[in-house]
Symmetry: none
Subunit: 205 residues, 4 copies
């Protein structure tokens, strides 16, 4: 087999493991998704799982989490940011987050479980959010006037808060509450909530 073929095979197997794990969680619940069952579902051997993920289950989640692009912000959207158009600016991001959370529900459940159980995962999650918000903030401060005026530290902190807010609300809405009749209303509400939040901080600082 050529190197490239092996490489592709490897990627396929890893994807298979991810998919089987998250499907299993949706089907039987997190606590019943064992490495053995993942292997069975993926039609590979347990050995293979441990080959790619030496620490087992937690490794699967953490590696998926690390490579996941689910949560990345698209900077372009924010370049036109202005105190008057906050809801409109945030809508694309909210909309994408809803879509992602729905599509990857198994993964999200696993992530929440691990955040509750493992300090390291909780820290990793917090760091990733911080990282994303830092990058975005720095980037925006070089490209966009409005952001340049805000001290970097503060910008990052607030971005982080808003980011967490969106994540938490969407998760709770999708998984627990189901209040709004359709996604448009949910998006409308959250985007306005962010508008409110930013202005609330504006005032209080």
């Amino acid at each position: 087999m050529s190197k490239r073929k092996i490489e592709r095979n490897k990627e396929e197997k890893i994807k298979l493991i991810y998919d089987s794990f998250f499907k299993l969680i949706l089907e039987k619940g997190f606590h019943r998704a064992s490495t053995n069952k993942i292997a069975k579902k993926a039609q590979i051997s347990v050995g293979t799982i441990y080959h790619y993920f030496p620490k087992g289950k937690s490794d699967i989640l953490i590696k998926y989490f690390e490579k996941s692009k689910d949560m990345v912000l698209d900077i372009e959207n924010f370049k036109a940011f202005d105190l008057s158009n906050i809801p409109e600016i945030f809508k694309p991001f909210i909309s994408k987050d809803i879509e992602n959370q729905r599509k990857n529900l198994g993964y999200r459940i696993a992530l929440r479980h691990s955040i509750l159980s493992h300090k390291e995962v909780r820290k990793a999650f917090q760091n990733k959010v911080l990282e994303i918000c830092k990058d975005t903030s720095k980037n925006l401060r070089t490209s966009t006037m409005v952001f340049k005026k805000i001290p970097e530290e503060r910008l990052i902190k607030r971005f982080t808060f808003i980011y967490n807010l969106i994540e938490a609300l969407i998760h709770h809405h999708i998984f627990v509450m189901d209040f709004f009749d359709n996604d448009e209303e949910l998006i409308e509400y959250i985007s306005n909530l962010i508008d409110f939040t930013i202005k609330f901080f504006q005032k209080s600082s």
Copy 2:
């Protein structure tokens, strides 16, 4: 066979089981809190746990959850409700919820885990919130003019949304985010968020 000492105090034992379970979760994490460990920690036999909670761990959680008064709303606070004083009206409730979530962190972690894992717990949680909000709504509609004007159905639904919102935000803040420097600021933010939310609904309906 070894001698057995039998002590009898139903209520105490049940409390002991609750406490040991939730302490164990705080100490070692949810997934390491097994029935055997609970028994050991509580210095009782496993049999006793299954005597009171035939379905094991999930039963402990569900029974605690059902009898818990943690989440009840104090109606008196809301009697002076008025569109101009929303933040002030909600502050005592928010404050108490923060306190409760902190005090019973082990239980809250168990609850969140179970909501993620077991459909029935999720449903039970949704129903309890609904129940509380129904009671409060009905009660307020008999005692307070402002609420009488709002159709019952709508009042309940919005109360439920706000209730969920508060719960989810406080949990996420305490457990994951830790953004505000002190509880006062958190209370200030959430109470204003509710003000915003109520007015947002006002407009959109």
Copy 3:
């Protein structure tokens, strides 16, 4: 309470225990009929079961077995015995045994289980059958000419064999095979089988 009332109460409780035990076996299988479940089903306490049956489950079976009149032979039927009317003579007994085995299926299952598991029960069963056949044989030898001619030992042994044969075949037919379309055919077959058996022994001795 008067002594008689207590006595009656006692009998009622014991009957309740028997019934619950055998019902439980039919409903959930022998291995799932525990003393705790019997108590629950009978709506009495485990303590009460151990009060009347100090050795627990096995005691229940053995005491029921000992007092049971299920298996007794009605001597009157056999007084007209004659080599020419064997099938007719045995039919009432076969018929009654079928009825009994059907009615007390839970008990019969328990009995078979214990015969397979416990040497003592097996011996007790063998002894009971022997006892019954001894009594009947002796009795018949005093009252009926045909039997007087057969040496006592031999009569007992053959009676025992026939008795076992009937028991085993009826049990197997009811519980495992279900070959004949109705009880009449089954009775016809077994009664002729006995006729054959007796004559087979006649020849070979």
Copy 4:
């Protein structure tokens, strides 16, 4: 963690599990043969048992039962079948069944227990007997004139009955009754019983 030695020999291990299970039953009785004890006796880990028999004890029995050749009929014996030689024709089969039941007593006890406890095992037993009798009947109807004349349905049904009869009588005799002084007499009796039975059916149809 302790060192682990891994030995690989699938078939041997499976045989080891069968043997240990059935030996344990003979030694301590069916109800005391637990999966843990089987593992200990077989000097393997419990995990291995569940690796090969995911449903535990009942799986061991059922899988052994399904692959067992204990009960198969040797067709050759029956080709010379004729109403005048029935006892002689059946003797080899009866003799072999006695031998098998004695040799595999532990397994037979387990089988009887399971027939009493689990509807599925009872059904599986009935089906296996039916299967064997079907095969034999069909086969004999192509090769032997006498059988060709009997309608297939009826032949199968009667074969099944006789098969069950032999099984039940031998089991009861070996395990409960012990009437005949030696196997020859038992074989003599049963073979004549079959002769009687076949002729009984002949008449009644």
